[in-house]
Symmetry: C2
Subunit: 634 residues, 2 copies
């Protein structure tokens, strides 16, 4: 049966089972959903939709037919007429692909109205489905740009979704054995370029597609694996926005991929931010890059965001569910439900199995689970990190002592995740009077923070509470000052005022953190605090190891030596990864307990050590693959 | 550089370094060799050829240019004129592709002449290179047919060899990591459909390509493995002629393969015999087969026979050497020398690590060896078989007792290997007067025996001695009677004479052995001896287990029950496989000792048990892959 015939059958079925008054205009596959366009969407009760979904075993979405939608400009006017001014509407986002309009306002309660009356009025007047949300306290340029692209190129996006939908719902004939296997194209016995290739007789899926920024000859995944074929790829799944998990995705589109990218919405946005940043830095350093900003845009148009816990068909025989991984905003564990025999595979991506200031701990319960693929960054026997509370105390102590002496504290930091965690620690310390100095934010930290405030539903319960009560939103604290230009940076450097500076990049491999170091290094009053892993060969590692001077290329191209007199501190315990204790606890808590556990994302010795421990403690079958190994799991 | 340019460079080099008087006419790649066609081949001393081969790092073959070769019919006449009649020439084989003529005679000494004088005269007269050999004592129809095909279609064969040669010697650029991995497409944790797929960045090689005759839903290897692509295949290597190692090879040609098949010459011939037999039986049973006899012929034309110990380029980065495996005539261990870093992989195929009556034990010394892939048929802790001598005594005892009582002994037996071993045991017992009755040979046994006598150089030293002294050749003993027709079979069955019957198939799955059983079963004077493994579900297994009657379909289509009253014996110890003791001894004796040993070709428990033993005893890294696993070895 062709995809057209499959769709035609579904169409007939839906029309038969739906109330006539709904006036169905069209039924289409759009990505993983079956979308029903109707003139009177309000006729479809949740009950009807649920039954349809159950009967057809598909995700059903009812949308107003475009012919009934009021033009956005006119719709805006009508909304302003209906909603009282005190609601303070700050923004509209019309999503032509869903027929929804997001109404951002300071008081969303007034957009809803008593018992939803106002919302009803809006709906009737404009036919778009209104989604009132609280205005994010900081505006994100990235999100704005993504929304603009998706709106401007909505026809192309719709075409993409329909093509993807036809492929997902294609009719297949399974002959003989149904097998499942995973090839490790990168990230096995190493950190960087994570890339899993899941294969079954009918489906090919890539989970993560990262790059190793620190290592030029092992920068990209093994696309030379004989089983890899970009034309046959059904789907790409991204667990989170770090470049070692998503850095190559736009490159896939450059080399001919034309299918969907599944991830959470925050991952889509943070990933776009980090990919752009990667391009800019690489260009500045004159390095070759495997794609352009055009490819990043193509990637955005092919991305299908899915929420935690929503099960989605991504091929005729695979269903995907994402679960919170506790690692960075939007980070996910990918759970695949595969084939006739319903085999279950979960891949953790990077996980934190502890409540952090920002996020809830990683999910460890699944409906079913046969094989788990788990990260092992801190898997070795001596990888026990200090408690976070202790690390926080230590950090605040250094900050307070240094600023008290009139010095400046530089914290080179990774812009997504760790920077926001540190902001929360510093904000608390400032409020408690432990130190009294401004905290400057330079590099992409501000923008990454803005994205955090746009997705409160992805934050921990505690943060969610705070972030929407303006007085309490820690990110809006007066202690934080944004450094938005080189001029402003100059001022921070030149002033005598003691301060704290959070700046990217975290390993001093480029970006503003290096700029600050150059100027702060000679003065022994100042301090630098390393809070993350410093890779071999980076400037960060050198400073951390106690080098007494560093060569710097000046503006006129000469090399000059700068003495390092500032105080150097390393504070562990802020990692977004589970340490060994947490990894073991995670395996212990898993429900159900899987038959087989595969270790990846760690140096060779860490993976082997962790596998050995799990085998001994839990009597599990473990496996530590190499890159280019293909492991059959069923 | 294109293949043509590579060849052109070699041409120039050879012409420059060769004596002018040789008159080089052409230089061509033909299969793995560089063939130099010359008008005066005698000018090339072994010294010159050796130096050329060393300089070019290629196998060099000097051949008379076709223009100087005398027409075969005229050549024959001239040879008869030169060689004395007492030499008794029985056959000529002109090989147009090598410029050689094999002269078969009863007294090859007379073809050679004193100090090679006669040979010199022949060479001068006909220009073909004469190869005198002793006439094989039994004529093989299979060999005759293969030689006829290769002669008749010599132009096509030459074209095939040249195309293969250009592919082998293509110029490649190796970028980045050089990795090596092996995918297991069949024969992992099972016996049947053995098939390894070796992959490097530039080469794809299949080693063995068998079928499982006993199991319809697991009959063929996993060609659905995503990395398998028949168009990209560089070479197929066949370790030996059993169908579980070569049964699918003609099917590869049906599905588009057009490259070389490397194996020993006896394997080529036995494989052809067995593939034809498989087709015939399958057709009789109305089963679907994956190829036709035309494909078997295509396979023969693409086969490049290589001798034990000769190292051959099979791709730009892989060299192959075959070594005796001691399992059946022509059986080989495949040793691959791979890539720049010169990594060494050996795959045993099936091995016997003990001198048998026919063959020398498997080779266990290699120039270098990092990974060994070994069969595990009898790898479990209780797989210790009785000594061969004991088994022989027991067999002869049953034969003598049964025939003394006037009964007939039926031995269902596999036609290649085991049948010949038993013939040698029976011949010795008969000579020693242990029994006195004829031994009838039915099915393909006679033909397989003929192929054995055509390749004395592949037999054990002792056998080689015997086979060429007519009085001593055990296969020609008066005790053996060939059953060549159903009429003759009828006579054997109907006569009152006590006798021994060796007949195929070995598991009573069809063929004459079943025919004999039907008629011998009711009489308790008779006996049946099982000397090989009887698979679950076969008639052999049922009889072995003691069933008291068997249903048989008669000629007119009715089902009738036959009582089983004959004596049933099972004698272990004639296996062509190493038992557990021999497998362990083999690993102990390996030189050099490999880093890693991978277990295949055995039921799951046998492979796991053997791996465990090797890990414990020798502290080796072991691996028991599943079908569809791909294991990176470098
Ligand atoms: Zn991460
Ligand atoms: Zn990571
Ligand atoms: Zn065999
Ligand atoms: Zn075998
Ligand atoms: Zn061909």
């Amino acid at each position: 049966m062709s995809a057209e015939e499959v769709l035609e059958n579904i169409r007939k079925e839906i029309i038969k089972k739906s109330p006539k008054e709904a006036k169905i205009v069209d039924v289409q596959f759009e990505g993983p959903e079956v979308v029903v366009y109707v003139k009177n969407p309000e006729i479809f009760t949740n009950e009807i939709i649920k039954n349809l979904a159950k009967d057809l075993r598909k995700r059903i979405s009812i949308r107003p037919d475009p012919s009934v939608l009021v033009e956005p400009e006119i719709a805006k006017k009508k909304i302003f007429e209906i909603v009282p001014e005190e609601a303070e509407i700050t923004n509209f986002v019309f999503d032509a692909n869903t027929g929804e309009v997001i109404i951002e306002s300071k008081k969303p309660g007034l957009v809803i109205g008593k018992e939803g009356k106002t919302l009803e009025m809006i709906k009737k007047a404009i036919r778009w489905a209104p989604k009132p949300v609280r205005s994010p306290p900081i505006q994100s340029e990235t999100i704005k740009a993504i929304r603009a692209t998706l709106y401007r190129e909505r026809d192309e996006v719709k075409e993409i979704l329909r093509r993807i939908g036809r492929r997902i719902h294609r009719d297949i004939v399974v002959r003989g054995d149904y097998w499942i296997r995973v090839s490790f194209l990168g990230g096995a016995r190493e950190v960087g370029r994570s890339c899993l290739y899941v294969q079954t007789p009918d489906t090919r899926v890539l989970i993560d597609c990262g790059i190793n920024v620190a290592c030029e000859d092992k920068a990209f995944p093994h696309f030379d694996a004989p089983e890899f074929s970009i034309e046959d790829l059904d789907a790409v799944i991204i667990t989170h926005a770090h470049l070692d998990h998503c850095g190559f995705v736009p490159g896939l589109f450059r080399y001919g991929y034309d299918g969907p990218v599944y991830c959470t919405r925050p991952t889509r946005d943070l990933m776009t931010l980090l990919q752009k940043d990667y391009l800019e830095i690489a260009k500045k350093e004159g390095k070759e890059v495997p794609y352009s900003s055009k490819d990043i845009k193509t990637c955005v148009k092919h991305t299908i965001p899915i929420d935690y816990g929503v099960t989605t068909d991504i091929s005729p025989t695979i269903k995907l569910t994402l679960h919170n991984a506790g690692h960075v905003l939007g980070s996910a564990i990918a759970h695949l439900h595969i084939g006739e025999g319903l085999y279950n595979l979960a891949y953790t991506g990077d996980i934190k199995f502890e409540t952090s200031r920002l996020l809830e701990p990683a999910v460890c319960q699944f409906p079913r689970l046969e094989t788990l693929i788990i990260e092992s960054t801190y898997g070795a026997y001596d990888d026990v990190l200090p408690e976070r509370e202790e690390a926080e105390r230590e950090l605040l102590k250094v900050v307070s002592e240094t600023t008290d002496k009139g010095g400046k504290v530089l914290i080179p930091v990774f812009g997504v995740g760790r920077a926001q965690e540190l902001m929360l620690v510093l904000e608390e310390g400032y409020n408690q009077g432990i130190f009294n100095a401004p905290v400057y934010l330079d590099g992409m930290i501000w923008e990454a923070t803005a994205i955090h405030t746009a997705y409160p539903e992805y934050l921990s319960k505690e943060m969610r509470q705070k972030i929407f009560h303006e007085g309490d939103n820690p990110f809006l604290s007066e202690v934080f000052k944004r450094v938005g230009s080189t001029n402003e940076r100059r001022k921070v450097i030149d002033s005598d005022e003691p301060c704290v500076i959070l700046a990217t990049s975290g390993m001093l491999t480029g970006g503003p953190s290096v700029e600050y170091l150059k100027h702060l290094a000679p003065d022994e009053k100042n301090a630098i605090i390393f809070v993350g892993y410093q890779a071999e060969g980076t400037l960060g590692r050198k400073v951390q190891r106690g080098w007494k001077e560093i060569p710097i290329v000046t503006r006129n191209g000469k090399t000059k030596s700068i003495p390092i007199n500032l105080q150097v501190y390393t504070i562990e315990g802020f990692s977004g990864h589970s340490d060994r204790k947490q990894l073991i606890k995670y395996v212990r808590r898993l429900k159900p307990s899987p038959e087989k556990i595969i270790m990846v994302h760690g140096e060779e010795s860490k993976c082997l050590d962790f596998a050995d421990t799990v085998r001994r403690l839990f009597k599990k079958q473990t496996c530590v693959p190499m890159n280019l190994d293909a492991v059959r799991i069923k």
